[in-house]
Symmetry: C2
Subunit: 376 residues, 2 copies
């Protein structure tokens, strides 16, 4: 964790009031780190809030301060792009519980020590409460749209459900109204991998300068498999062997080095992740996702989550996404229909699996452009 690099990387605000949480606890002080792109118009009516995914951050369309890489949705957000910053004021904030400047387990508690595992368990709705409080502080009453993919889509659904007057539209991509048993299971594997690492130290690793990097890397490797389709993995790697550092062509070594390119790729993904992400944040955010069940928050009826809504919805799924498959989006659409809401829905064909929402899918660009421009 390179906290120094983050200190001046983002806009920040401190929420004026303690943030009430679903657990019954409250969190204070709460800082929110955010980025904005494009100008806010005079009547503050052109704001779009983009919500990020599990390991995402506010660096939507600007370089990441640790990795130096371009923003994670730079292909979607910018002047003349589907989320057009020459027209819209785009806001993206780091969620609470995360580690890119907003208050999370690595942040200092009032006693001057990191929260670590004293950080309260939060929910998707708690994250959205933080975002709404940020919008309050920025003086933005109603959004043009709330937009998100994956966990960002959960936030968009939660936002539109619990704060229906605060957004005129919600765009939910590759997401679900509840976390499935299989997805809880994958998250639990990741958490157990982190907690099995002795360097986790029950979460109190911040002073050591070294966290549970091996456990976090394993968690990321397992998760990464779920972000790709089987077909994408086959086409990208197949059973191809890795060339050696000494330049020799790939061959089976009859050992435990990364013989296959897919092994090498996964190991790299795991290691690179530990440079930019806090293991405790991974625990808290996966837990928040696992707890997410929008129907449960409304007496078990998903349609009740959207009763009387005047927000326009657009749901998008991808045919190769097995983490948040089309059936999950469809059940949200059915609930919106039952609630009499305005909703459009499309399953797009794209080869990349769950990661399709981040990658080059021109059909998604067209859907986003059309939906966000529809009330012009």
């Amino acid at each position: 964790m390179a906290d120094a690099a983050l200190l001046h990387a983002s806009k920040r605000l401190t929420l004026p009031d303690p943030l009430p949480l679903d657990s019954g606890q409250s969190l204070a002080p709460v800082e929110i780190a955010y980025e904005t792109y494009g100008e806010l118009n005079a009547d503050k009516s052109n704001a779009i809030l983009v919500c990020h995914a599990l390991t995402g951050d506010q660096f939507l369309a600007s370089n990441h301060p640790i990795t130096g890489k371009p923003g994670w949705w730079v292909r979607m957000v910018g002047p003349g792009k589907p989320i057009d910053t020459s027209r819209f004021h785009v806001i993206c904030a780091n969620v609470i519980g995360s580690c890119m400047g907003s208050t999370g387990p690595a942040s200092l508690a009032v006693d001057g020590a990191p929260h670590a595992m004293r950080f309260p368990v939060i929910t998707i709705r708690d994250m959205v409460r933080g975002l709404v409080a940020m919008l309050d502080a920025l003086g933005i009453g109603s959004l043009h749209a709330v937009v998100g993919g994956s966990m960002g889509g959960m936030q968009a659904l939660s936002f539109a459900s619990h704060w229906p007057t605060r957004t005129r539209a919600a765009l939910v991509i590759a997401s679900a109204a509840r976390q499935s048993a299989q997805n809880i299971a994958f998250h639990e594997v990741g958490r157990q991998a982190i907690m099995a690492d002795p360097a986790w130290e029950n979460g109190d690793y911040y002073a050591s300068g070294k966290g549970p990097e091996k456990g976090l890397a394993v968690a990321r490797m397992a998760a990464h498999i779920t972000y790709l389709s089987e077909q994408a993995m086959h086409e990208k790697f197949g059973r191809r062997l890795q060339d050696r550092p000494d330049g020799t062509r790939g061959a089976k070594t009859f050992g435990f080095d990364a013989d296959f390119q897919v092994e090498s790729y996964l190991r790299h993904q795991g290691l690179a992740f530990t440079d930019r992400f806090d293991a405790n944040s991974y625990l808290y955010i996966t837990r928040a996702m696992d707890y997410f069940d929008l129907a449960e928050e409304h007496g078990g009826k998903l349609a009740a989550a959207f009763a009387g809504t005047r927000t326009r919805f657009c749901l998008v799924s991808f045919d190769t996404d097995w983490l948040y498959p089309t059936a999950e989006s469809r059940s949200v659409v059915h609930a919106l229909n039952a609630a009499g809401a305005a909703v459009s829905f499309v399953e797009l064909s794209a080869p990349f699996g769950h990661d399709s929402f981040l990658l080059d899918v021109p059909a998604l660009d067209r859907v986003v452009t059309g939906f966000l421009g529809a009330d012009r």
Copy 2:
């Protein structure tokens, strides 16, 4: 590992010759631990070799000596059952590299210390070489059939391909002729979880009396998800919460205990596995599976693996198996067709995912009964 319990649990034989390996090394001495069920007839023509899966063993239809649980295929193997021991002499041997009595990493090398990571990397064909040498030692020339599910199916394919005169039939269930990129990826996550555990000690943990149990448990948890279908997980657990040890009904604890039943189940599966399985064996056997590519062993042409074969084949897949999906079986069938082999193929509908081959699927019983009895 309860080696004492194993010592007298199985029949054992020591191979008379060193076993040549695909790596170019050879292994000696090699012990094979095996179980038999049903009588061998006078002309030794009624033997069926059952090959076990990754974490399986020879205790096909008798209680496991460590867990005390019934054999893993007791529903399939016995008098009057689909693999009818009143008619057939059924043999099941622990594969080399495993840990239930056959020579593996935990076995003592000639210097009196465990092989540990000095154990050579083996292949599926090496495992089958060990099985064929066992059949030689038992004086069994040609099998009525070789049968296996999952990794057992890989062995059955390898056996029928490389020793075509040694079996008259091959029954391959929920398997493939090569390990896919996605499956290599899941195995690599498991291996990294084991190797990330400091208790792994580069494989030299046998003297400590305690191995990388946490890492092995994480590996097992990740693998276990792949054995079930999403639908099976949903129906078995859904988002149901776990009742507490104190008897209180399930509720979200806003903590990191196993709130969800699926978490509790996975944790149990992980922990229970470490009581009966050796972590180094897990490394070696997953590696053998990842290396498996029967086409590659035949100049890249899978049909060449079966050229001129007179063995009858039966391939079975399950519609909910996403680890070894139907497409993998179908490509084997196409190759067998191209080779002019006698082959039947069926995709069965069963809700359990990959584990269907182990569970109550009456249609599978009928297929097995029919195929094994066809030359009566």
